[in-house]
């Protein structure tokens, strides 16, 4: 695998059992992502975009095929090793933010570094720097319940990238945000992608999110229907 490829999916299939009826959520998908890319996975509900994102993040297991992230084949990892991989190489941004409600914004950002064993002074400094760079430095001492949706999503992004992951996975990051806040979030993701070189994959319905991506992959019925880059249709 070339060094500039972060994600490699080969013949990836995922069949769910829906009350005894097999549902083909993903059907033999081949999908690569190069380092530093900004990819949006689009498609209608049930097209397989979230399934693909979850398989790349190791949150789900394929029925067949395999996923390699930054040179590591996920099939070779047990649950704890997958947790370690997510901790050190993958950042997640969820639709509903999923911050820890009993921790402040700063502590939420520090939390993941605590898991990594980063020294207290350093993680404190990095958390404050990260929140400041995302424009919410003055909200560090507030708990998630005291923040707006947009502010919570920024904290979630800060938590996801503070550990310098090679890959940022965002599942419907704009679903609970208004258009202005979404625009701010997407500007932020683009900056992170361009300035920090973080590879971003989003699963989204939102055309605005798609418009920020450099590569737009459209899925339908568990297969890649189109794969276009910067205005050019490639599949």
């Amino acid at each position: 695998m070339a060094d500039d490829v972060v994600v490699v999916c080969r013949q990836l299939s995922r069949i769910y059992d829906d009350d005894g009826v097999p549902v083909n959520a993903l059907d033999g998908v081949d999908f690569d992502v190069t380092r530093g890319d900004f990819v949006s996975l689009a498609g209608p509900s049930g097209s397989g975009k979230s399934t693909l994102l979850n398989l790349i993040g190791g949150l789900d297991e394929p029925t067949s095929g395999n996923v390699v992230v930054d040179g590591t084949n996920l099939a070779d990892l047990d649950q704890s090793q997958r947790s370690d991989l997510r901790l050190n190489k993958i950042g997640f941004v969820f639709q509903s933010y999923n911050l820890i409600p009993v921790l402040t914004a700063r502590e939420n950002v520090e939390f993941i570094m605590q898991l990594q064993g980063v020294h207290a002074a350093e993680r404190h400094r990095r958390a404050i720097d990260m929140l400041s760079s995302l424009g919410i430095g003055d909200l560090g001492d507030r708990r998630p319940g005291e923040l707006s949706g947009g502010q919570q999503q920024r904290v979630a992004v800060a938590r996801a990238i503070v550990t310098h992951p090679v890959l940022l996975l965002a599942d419907e990051p704009s679903a609970n945000l208004d258009s202005k806040t979404t625009e701010g979030l997407l500007d932020l993701l683009r900056t992170i992608n361009r300035e920090h070189g973080v590879t971003i994959i989003t699963a989204t319905h939102d055309p605005m999110v798609m418009s920020y991506a450099r590569r737009r992959v459209h899925l339908k019925d568990g297969r890649i229907e189109s794969d276009e880059r910067a205005g050019a249709l490639t599949v």
Binding site: D60, F111, G117
Partner: protein, 408 residues
């Protein structure tokens, strides 16, 4: 990857305050259960040690030395002599006191009634720290010394003999030569013991006065009281080496019923505690399962961002341990407060007859023992951890993706 304990404690502590009402109720349940267990354990201990002290103080001592045939034929014929200046070879620090006595069966007669009893010749000074005679309530006078030839009877016996302090009674017993001895004694005092059994069973006079009546220098028993029952076995062995021709028995052998009750009390404390704590553990499991199920989505998110399943389990265990520690701490303080409140004892005299039949004193004084508090806290923590293991397992048995899809 090792998860910092401080992080677990920080999360655990804050999560405690998320469901304040529920956690308060759980804490209150643990607090009341532990406080109640501490108090009840202390009362059982009080009963247990009262029973042992009664057995020891009722002329038994922790260890007693007898002639081998005395228990089958408790007469002066089964007496033995001690060398002048003899002292038991028990370390001074372990020895509360000791005495030699002459105890013989006798018949005591007043002008109107006759009763059988044990006539005991004592050294009054020795008995002060040794037997119930040192503390028992008396009407009239106490015996002055071992040479005192008066007699002290129990209050109940005095009633049965239809006589009173100051009058004379006649005692008939068997002398060392096998012939009957008969002598008149003036009653100088009546003792008022816990219950009437002792009052009916014993009469006391001076030891050397009784020896003169029996025409002997022998005694029938040596009674040794120790500072702690734990020294009984060692002291028994030492006395058996020192007096090989005599029979050395501890209070457990001499009072087997009391000894059995003493052992049963240990078991009762354990069984009572287990019943309460297992019931509490079910409540803990139920509450924790509810708490865990409410947070399945959060646990899914934690796993998604890199927390290992084992770390999630550890977090749930830390949270339940914190609840248990808070409840235990409060419960122990509550229990100690209750023990302090009842420090003067619970008056059971209203049920005097039943109390005597049960072997209880009329005032039950709780006895708080450090080992019981340690047992309660340790076993509660173990049970709490065992009870939390299932909810903790439930917390990680849901796949992270399924957990994330669940509503909050």
């Amino acid at each position: 990857m090792k998860m910092p304990l401080i992080l677990l404690l920080q999360l655990g502590w804050r999560n405690l305050w998320r469901q304040r009402r529920r956690n308060f109720m759980l804490l209150a349940a643990i607090l009341v259960a532990v406080g109640g267990v501490v108090l009840i354990n202390s009362l059982i201990r009080g009963f247990q040690y009262d029973m042992m002290e009664d057995a020891v103080e009722n002329l038994t001592g922790h260890v007693k030395v007898l002639a081998p045939g005395y228990r089958d034929d408790p007469s002066i014929v089964q007496g033995f002599e001690l060398a002048d200046g003899w002292q038991p070879s028990v370390p001074t620090a372990e020895l509360e006191g000791w005495t030699r006595r002459v105890r013989v069966p006798a018949v005591v007669m007043s002008e109107r009634e006759t009763r059988g009893l044990n006539l005991v010749g004592i050294d009054p000074a020795d008995e002060r720290d040794l037997s119930f005679l040192g503390t028992v309530a008396m009407s009239g006078e106490r015996l002055r010394d071992a040479d005192d030839s008066h007699i002290v009877l129990g209050r109940e016996l005095l009633t049965q003999l239809d006589t009173k302090v100051g009058r004379r009674v006649v005692v008939i017993t068997q002398g060392a030569d096998g012939l009957n001895r008969e002598a008149g004694f003036r009653v100088i005092g009546a003792f008022d013991a816990e219950g009437t059994a002792l009052e009916k069973a014993f009469a006391f006079t001076g030891r050397t006065a009784l020896q003169r009546l029996l025409d002997t220098d022998a005694v029938t028993e040596i009674s040794v009281r120790l500072t702690d029952d734990a020294h009984s076995a060692e002291a028994s062995a030492e006395l058996a080496r020192e007096l090989p021709s005599l029979q050395v028995m501890d209070w457990r052998q001499l009072e087997p019923l009391a000894a059995a009750m003493f052992e049963y009390s240990d078991a009762a404390i354990f069984v009572w505690f287990l019943i309460v704590m297992i019931a509490l553990a079910f409540g803990l499991v139920n509450t924790l399962i509810t708490a865990v199920m409410e947070r399945v989505r959060e646990f899914g998110m934690l796993r998604a961002i890199g927390m290992r399943p084992g770390q999630i389990v550890l977090q749930v265990l830390v949270e339940s341990t914190l609840v248990m520690l808070l409840g235990l701490g409060g419960g122990v303080v509550l229990g100690m407060g209750l023990v302090a409140y009842f420090a003067d004892g619970i008056d059971l005299s209203a049920w005097a007859q039943g109390v005597e039949m049960a072997g209880l004193r009329s005032v039950l004084v709780p006895r708080l023992m450090a080992e019981d508090v340690v047992l309660v806290t340790t076993l509660s923590l173990v049970l709490g951890l065992l009870g939390s293991a299932y909810p903790a397992w439930r917390a990680v048995s849901v796949k992270p993706l399924d957990a994330l899809r669940r509503g909050t």
